[in-house]
Symmetry: C2
Subunit: 248 residues, 2 copies
């Protein structure tokens, strides 16, 4: 049966996240409902991974299987007509039979935006975390560099992944760049894969370092402890963007 890959962008502010959940409004639910309306059969779309409530996506990827071939341009147009404006399907293309949005992914890029001006920009209130205390950016950068490489990230993974064997928590972070931008900074994460809440837990820990509550040289010890309780709290979801999913 034909398989399709969809590129999806959404403002996560008013959704319960990507994944279907009981009694909530998820991006996946809305896309599945719109697809079912167009194709007149129940539809499922599998995402590259879940994003939490409030987390945004510039380039989420999903795949779906249809009974027969579809006209991708027409379905793209119809989907965007049916979906709320917070969600846009940017592209639909045919995918190889063995393609899987989640299991075929070879890497991802996430960005986390921090607004550091004393007064929040009203246009960024849903798209960046506002920090009102002073941030030691040099120390934050030093800490960020210690996450780069291949590590067991158990200390930065929330329960959903923590039940699994230790090997499962090994991921490679290719880069964690701290980029200055108007009003604040952007943390750019690129890696082979990310555990549940890993980016937000790393950001939360980095903010504790930048705020003087921890020292950057504690990071290797937190990593080697493989204990979620040793790391900082998850940073709020609204600063986080899933930017890109890579496939080989």
């Amino acid at each position: 049966m034909p398989k399709y890959k969809a590129l999806i962008s959404y403002d996560g502010s008013s959704f319960s996240g990507w994944q279907s959940q009981i009694n909530s409004l998820s991006v996946q639910d809305l896309i599945e409902k719109a697809l079912a309306t167009i194709l007149r059969v129940p539809m499922e779309i599998i995402g590259s991974g879940r994003t939490d409530a409030g987390v945004h996506a510039l380039g989420q990827v999903g795949h779906f299987i249809t009974e027969k071939e579809i006209e991708t341009e027409k379905v793209l147009y119809s989907l965007n007509s049916l979906l709320p404006k917070e969600i846009r399907i940017l592209d639909i293309s045919e995918a190889p039979e063995d393609f899987h949005a989640r299991y075929s992914a070879t890497g991802k890029i996430y960005h986390y935006h921090l607004h550091l001006d004393p007064i929040m920009d009203p246009f960024k209130r849903k798209y960046a975390l506002h920090l009102q205390h002073k941030l030691d950016i040099a120390e934050l950068k030093a800490a960020a560099s210690l996450f780069v490489g291949t590590h067991d990230f158990s200390s930065f993974a929330n329960q959903q992944s923590q039940g699994s064997a230790s090997l499962d928590a090994v991921r490679t972070l290719h880069r964690l760049d701290v980029i200055e931008q108007p009003g604040g900074i952007r943390l750019e994460f690129e890696g082979t894969g990310f555990l549940y809440k890993m980016v937000r837990n790393i950001v939360g820990t980095l903010l504790e370092v930048g705020g003087g509550k921890r020292l950057s040289h504690e990071i290797p010890y937190i990593l080697s402890a493989k204990d979620r309780k040793k790391a900082g709290r998850a940073a709020e979801p609204h600063g986080l963007f899933l930017v890109k999913v890579f496939y080989s």
Copy 2:
């Protein structure tokens, strides 16, 4: 009595505009209410001009008069604590006795954002007009240049100003630049003053030119007709930003 100047930014999406109106939620109302709570007396704030429902501001200016001197830093902080996050007071400073946010203004900058990609960016849905038809940007630029200079803008002013004498509709537009930006263009207006709905009426007319419904060389005739009915319809409010108000 001491007079203060406030610099204000707001996301106009959920307000009825700047100006107080019966049975509506205006930015002015909310700031006056917050000021009254802090200073414990009824307060009035006069803006540089009204912005319509849905129009945004990066640098609206208002003035208010108090019975005695206030600590500007403290009032700034308290205002931002009381106001919804869509509205931020960016600065409060003492103003000369003869300062008036509206009558002392010597010029303004407005920006109007157009998104031209076939698929709307979900993060711009409230901050740019989405055009789905093709736009002839060269023709639009040619038409835009014909607005620059000193003209009677009666044909581009809605009723609120149209009742007044012809002399009142003479304004100088210093520039109307068409700037390309990711996903579309931005129209930058800088002038001595703007009549009611003038920017949106000019944008609406420019879009008719860019869409092939009018020719750029009609603009001088529309201007000289001094007749609102000769120009195009007002462009939607959500693409418009009041960027800066100038004072001598």
